[in-house]
Subunit: 206 residues, 2 copies
C-alpha cells in the first residue's frame, strides 16, 4: 500500500525507490515464500513498473539476494561457476563458496542469513524454495542424467555441511584449514556426489 | 553447592540424585565447554562420589548426551558403528544417523539440541569440543594414516550437511528420499571423504 501517490516507471537509480522495492520484497518473501513471490506483485505493491525491478535486480533470484541483504548471493555464485567446464566444477564450486565466506564484505551477511535460515521458519522456507527452484535444477541441468536432481541435492548438502562445520560450528581441523587444502580435500567427495557413483581403484582397501 | 547436606556415595538409581547430577553437568558443560568439565568436578558440586557418575553415565561422553537430554547420543552412535568392518562403515554410519533422526523417540531431542547448537554460542562450543574430542579422533583412529583427522572432520561435515539439508531445512528431493536410497547415494561420497582420494574410472567423463 506504500507509494500510492507515486507514478509508475520512475527514473531508475533513485535510492528511495530501490529501498522501497527491497522492503516490499523482503516482507513478501518471508510471508509467502520464494515460490509465492512474483516480480509483478512486488512492483504493484511498491508502486513501480516491474521493468524497474528487472533493471535493478535482474531476476527474482537477484531480487531475493538483495532483499536478504546478501553481499554474495549463493544462487549467483553457483550459476556463475556452472558456466565453466564440468571437469573442474567441484574445485571451482568449493573455491567460490570459501571465497564468499572468507570475504570481508560478504561473510557477515552470509552468516546472518544462514543463521536466520536455521532459526526462523519463514527464512528457512524462502531459502529452501530458492534452493529447490534456482540452485538444484540448475546444477541438475548442467549435470544431465535421469537422477541429476538427486545428485544435485546431495552435492548441495555437502556444501552446506562444509559451510556449517567450518564457519558456524568451527570444528577443527576443518575450521583453520588453508583454502587450497580444503579445495583439494573436499573436491573428490563433491565430485563423487555430483557424478553419483563410487570409484573403486583395483588396489583399494575399501 | 547444592546437596551440601547429603552424604557421598548414595545408593545408585535414586531419581533425585541422577537429576541433580544432570543439572550440574548441563550447567557446567554450557559454562566451561566440553573440555573444561571433569567427572570429579561434577561429582563434587553435586555432592556425590564420582563412581556414581560412571555408574549412571559410563563416561564423560555419556554424561554429555544425558545432560543435553539426547535420547540418541551422536558420539555413542558413531562409536558403536566404528566397531564394525571398514568396508561397510559409510553405509552403516549413514543408516545409523538416519535411524536416529527418523526415530520417534530420538528425533525431537536431536533436533532441539542441533538447533540450540546452531543458535547459542555456549551449546555450539560444547558440541564442537565434543566432536573434536570424542568423534573426530575416534574416526581417525579407526581410519589410520597421517591425515586421518582431516579426513574424519570432512566426513563429519558431510554428515552434518545431510542432517541439516534433510531434517532442518528440508530440501527436496533429499528430504523425502527413502532411507535405502539416501544410504545408496550418500555412501560413495562419504567413502571418498573417509578414504581421502579420488577414484577415477577409466571411462570417466569427469
Amino acid at each position: 500500500m506504500m507509494n500510492k501517490t507515486r507514478g509508475r516507471g520512475r527514473p531508475a537509480g533513485r535510492t528511495e525507490t530501490r529501498s522501497d522495492i527491497l522492503a516490499v520484497a523482503r516482507r513478501r518473501f518471508l510471508a509467502v515464500g520464494y515460490d509465492g513471490v512474483t516480480m509483478r506483485g512486488v512492483a504493484e505493491e511498491a508502486g513501480v513498473d516491474s521493468a524497474l525491478i528487472s533493471y535493478h535486480f535482474g531476476s527474482k533470484r537477484g531480487l531475493f539476494g538483495a532483499a536478504m541483504a546478501l553481499a554474495a548471493n549463493p544462487a549467483e555464485i553457483l550459476v556463475r561457476e556452472l558456466d565453466g567446464p564440468l571437469e573442474s566444477l567441484p574445485d571451482r564450486l568449493v573455491r567460490a563458496v570459501l571465497s564468499a565466506w572468507d570475504g570481508p564484505d560478504s561473510s557477515g551477511s552470509l552468516r546472518t542469513f544462514l543463521e536466520a535460515a536455521l532459526r526462523e521458519a519463514e527464512v528457512a522456507r524462502a531459502f529452501r524454495e530458492m534452493m529447490e527452484r534456482e540452485m538444484i535444477p540448475r546444477i541438475a541441468d548442467r549435470l544431465g542424467g535421469a537422477d541429476a536432481r538427486h545428485r544435485a541435492s546431495l552435492a548441495m548438502s555437502q556444501i552446506a555441511g562444509l559451510v556449517i562445520a567450518r564457519y558456524i560450528i568451527g570444528v577443527e581441523p576443518l575450521a583453520s584449514m588453508p583454502v587450497d587444502e580444503v579445495v583439494r580435500r573436499v573436491s573428490p567427495a563433491l565430485r563423487t556426489a555430483l557424478a553419483g557413483r563410487p570409484r573403486r581403484a583395483h588396489n583399494d582397501r575399501w
